[in-house]
Symmetry: C2
Subunit: 265 residues, 2 copies
C-alpha cells in the first residue's frame, strides 16, 4: 500500500511514525515549508516535496493532516489517481468537505486520531482512531488499512466524531488552561509548580489506571460547600484577577452542579 501524507505537523509526524512502526511504508510527504517537510521525510525515510505539482500519482491512500481551514483550499488544487482513497484527520471537519470535489475524489473518508499530537513527542501516545467512509468500497479499504496498520479503531459518523472532539476539549484544552493558571500563580508567588505534578498525576491515574468515574472522585472546598475555605482562597487570589474569576465561576458551577447527583445512574 502506497501511503502519501499531506502535512508535516504533529498529526502527520505521529501518524507517519505509527504506521511505519507497524510495518507500513510512507511513500511521500507533501509539506508547505522545506525545513519541516524535509525533517519529517528523513525521520520517515521517504521522499518529500513542497510543490503540489510534484505529488506522486501512484498512491493508494492520501492522508490530509493540515489545519482545518486549509482543507477546502487544498482539495480545490489536489489531483490524485481516480481509484485512490483520500482521508482527512480532523475531528471537527465534516466528511462532506470532499463532496464539492466529487469528480476528483470518488473514494474518501475520515481517519480521526482522538489524541493531542505533538511533533516533538518522544514516544507516540496511545491513539483511539475514529473512521468514516463515503461508501462500502471505501469502508472496506479503510478497514483493511486499519487492520494492516494495527490501529485501535471504531467507526464514527460526523455527529459522533464532533461530539468526541468537544468532549476532548473538556479533557485536554480546559484542564491544560487550569494548569497554566496554577503555574502562572506559582511563578508570581515564588512557588514551585512542579510540586503540584504528583496531585495532577494522581487525579488522572484514578480514572485511567483504577478506572474510577471522575463523578465519584470530586473533592475540595466547592463540593463540600466549605464557604470558609473558598473565602480564604479568593483572598489568596486577590492579586490574580484571571485565576480569581475562574475560581469563582467553577466553584459556583460545582456547588450547583447536577453532574455529581448522577453517580449511581
Amino acid at each position: 500500500m502506497q501511503i502519501i501524507i499531506i502535512g508535516s505537523g504533529g498529526v502527520a509526524a505521529n501518524l507517519g511514525r505509527l504506521f511505519q512502526d507497524n510495518g507500513l511504508t510512507i511513500t511521500q510527504i507533501l509539506g508547505r515549508t522545506e525545513s519541516s517537510t524535509k525533517k519529517l521525510a528523513e525521520l520517515l525515510n521517504c521522499a518529500y516535496t513542497i510543490d503540489i505539482a510534484n505529488l506522486r500519482m501512484d498512491g493508494s491512500l492520501y492522508i490530509i493532516a493540515i489545519q482545518d481551514r486549509e482543507i477546502p483550499v487544498l482539495l480545490s488544487q489536489l489531483v490524485i489517481p481516480g481509484d485512490a482513497m483520500i482521508v482527512h484527520t480532523a475531528g471537527g471537519v465534516s466528511i462532506d468537505v470532499f463532496k464539492p470535489f466529487r469528480r476528483q475524489f470518488s473514494q474518501y473518508g475520515v481517519l480521526y486520531p482522538l489524541q493531542s499530537l505533538r511533533k516533538e513527542t518522544v514516544s507516540i501516545p496511545e491513539i483511539p482512531f475514529y473512521l468514516d467512509a463515503n461508501d462500502a468500497r471505501s469502508k472496506a479499504f479503510l478497514e483493511k488499512f486499519a487492520e494492516q496498520a494495527r490501529l485501535n479503531y471504531r467507526w464514527a459518523d460526523d455527529k459522533m466524531r464532533m461530539q468526541l472532539h468537544v468532549a476532548a476539549v473538556f479533557c485536554s484544552n480546559y484542564p491544560n488552561y487550569l494548569y497554566t493558571l496554577a503555574e502562572n500563580f506559582c511563578k508570581k508567588e515564588g512557588l514551585d509548580f512542579s510540586s503540584l505534578l504528583p496531585v495532577i498525576t494522581e487525579t488522572t491515574n484514578r480514572m485511567s489506571r483504577e478506572k474510577i468515574s471522575p463523578a465519584l472522585l470530586q473533592t475540595g472546598p466547592a463540593i463540600r460547600n466549605d464557604l470558609s475555605t473558598i473565602d480564604k482562597h479568593l483572598n489568596i487570589l486577590y492579586n490574580d484577577t484571571e485565576a480569581r474569576e475562574v475560581y469563582q465561576f467553577l466553584t459556583e458551577k460545582i456547588m450547583e452542579s447536577s453532574v455529581f447527583q448522577n453517580k449511581s445512574e
Copy 2:
C-alpha cells in the same frame, strides 16, 4: 517514636501506610466510627479506640487527620503529654489553630501532604510534604521525624501552604469537574468516555514526564480563535446546559487570557 494518628479517612490511611512502609510504627489510632477505625488499625497492625478518653498518653507525635472544621472542636477536648508534638495535616487551616490551647500543646505544627489521598487507594501516590512548627524545638523534632520517615518535605508558613492549597484546586478539583462534565455528556450521547483517557493521560504526561510548561502546550479552538469550530461545539452541547455554560466561559477566558502571553518570561 510513638506515633498516634487521630482520624481514619484517606489522609490517616495513606500517612499511616507510608510511615509504616518507611519503617516507623503506628502505636494507636483514634477514630470516630468503630468499623473504619478498626479496619485501618488492622491494616496498620496497631491498637485503636473510638473513645477519646482511651487515647494513649505515651505518644511522642500526635497527627490530626480529620475534617478542617472539626479540628478546633477536637483540640478543645484533647489531652496529650506535655512534651509531645502535635500536628494537623490540613492545607487550609492555620498553624494558629493550636494557639487558644497553648497551655495544653506546647509543641505544635503542620504536616501537610500536597496530594489528594483516598482510603481505597491501591498504591500510595507520591506526596510532597510541607511542614511548619511553632518553635525551634518543634522544628527540630519534625525535621528528625521527616528524615526518619523518609519524607519528601519542605518548610512552608501558613501563607505558602494556603497558596499551594488553592493551586491544588486548579490542578485537581477543577480538572476533575471538567472530566465529570465530559463523562456525563458521553453517557447522555452514548459515547465511550474511556476513549478519552489517552488524551487525558497525554495532556498531563507532557508536564509530568517531559517537564514542558502547560503554557507552551495549549491547543484547541479557543487558543486558535477558531470561531467556526467553537460555534459547532456550542451547537453540539445544546442539550447540556451545564457543559455549554462552562464551555462558553472557559473559551472566552482562554481567548482573552494573559497567561499564554507570558511564555518566555
